[in-house]
Symmetry: C2
Amino acid sequence: MVEPKDRIGNGGQAALVQLQAYLAQLDLPEDGRLPPERELCESLGVSRGDLRKALDVLEKDGHIWRHVGKGTFVGSGPIEETIGISEIARQTNPADVMRARLIIEPEIAREAALHATLADIAAMRQSLVQTREAATWRQYENIDNLLHRQIAQASRNNVLLGLFDVLNAVRRTVVWGRLRSEGARPPADHHSFADHERIVDAIADRDLAGASTAMRLHLQQVGRRLIPLHEAAE
Amino acid sequence: MVEPKDRIGNGGQAALVQLQAYLAQLDLPEDGRLPPERELCESLGVSRGDLRKALDVLEKDGHIWRHVGKGTFVGSGPIEETIGISEIARQTNPADVMRARLIIEPEIAREAALHATLADIAAMRQSLVQTREAATWRQYENIDNLLHRQIAQASRNNVLLGLFDVLNAVRRTVVWGRLRSEGARPPADHHSFADHERIVDAIADRDLAGASTAMRLHLQQVGRRLIPLHEAAE
DNA sequence: ATATCGAACCAATCAGGAAATTGGTTATGG
DNA sequence: CCATAACCAATTTCCTGATTGGTTCGATAT
């Protein structure tokens, strides 16, 4: 008496063996998709019913997942291929974004201090000069964005860089529409100038703790300038 | 004598004023898109040429951005609405993913200790029980995933939750294909059981530093088990 | 001559739908 | 019991037409 959970006929059992052998010798096409059932059952020389029984076993064990219209894939389940930025942005607020920045960016700066190349540092220094030369707030913000991203890039960790890009996109969406006073340009004694230089200097000096601290202090300054705008609106 | 940079006729100058007034009174349709030029120039009563000159000025100042076939939008530039998980995964490796986890998840656990509701903690406790009951590694991993996500959810910061989801999707893509020995189940003395309990206990005790440290130690344990698999393959 | 406006045209993008593909199900026949 | 075929619904693919910012041309006015 076979256990009731995998009541599978002899044909299905044989197909399962063939299928497992096939999967072992197969080089997967990058997305883990395998041929449609109608092709697969023919190339394996088994009936579609038996093939499906074998696939049922593999699916229940979590080795593959299937979806009608899409196909059959190896893996534990359908992973979200894309994340919607606006979807995240819609469910949050500037304070949470700032909190997330305070958590992530100092650590990114620390990694940058450890892994930055000389070319990375040179690029940051150039951005530092450009921020001071910015003629409008808009230009300044663009270069400021670039500088922060250069730091993330210098971490030489593409996962951190990707997370930074997501966070940045969310931030830009959340604060969308907030325009600074037009025509004006950042004052020469804007705190960010000195903040940025401290961060880059620490990275260039390979001062891990200093880079992290400088970034944290910088973001806290930015946060302090951000909150009053909200309180004033109430 | 007008400055040479904005050589714009009188008609264009007038159109610019009208356009700015129009933008000021407009409630933007959620995505910042404004009517096509052919409609806008007619509703403003200016020629399309003048309208385009005015739009050129706004675009150079960074107030709007345009793309043929898409339209004209307010904002500093086209923000990436979606980010591709597999794109990040293709440019990275398990070590970078682990490093990113070590940076982010302890801080998420700290936030969770600060913001978790009693319902959050109860859900975690239930997951703790289920991890011990898991009959296969696959089931265990699913519940383990759920527990870590519950912690991220308990941070009550949807940005952190979104970043966690991105990181998790990348991780699942990067380690794709690595299968544990089948049939086996996690041993009763698996380190993660105690690790998880320490994390949840610290969160329940509102012990911020404890939650962060427990999560960091847990991930370092996981990392130590991960690396040997790579060295053994060489 | 010069400038400006309207119209037409261009290439990139989007919108909609028909046709093909695919996992899931049912019927038929041996 | 099972292999085969036909059918179903979800999804993708492909194509055509419309839309849109960018450009050019000719008429007209100043």
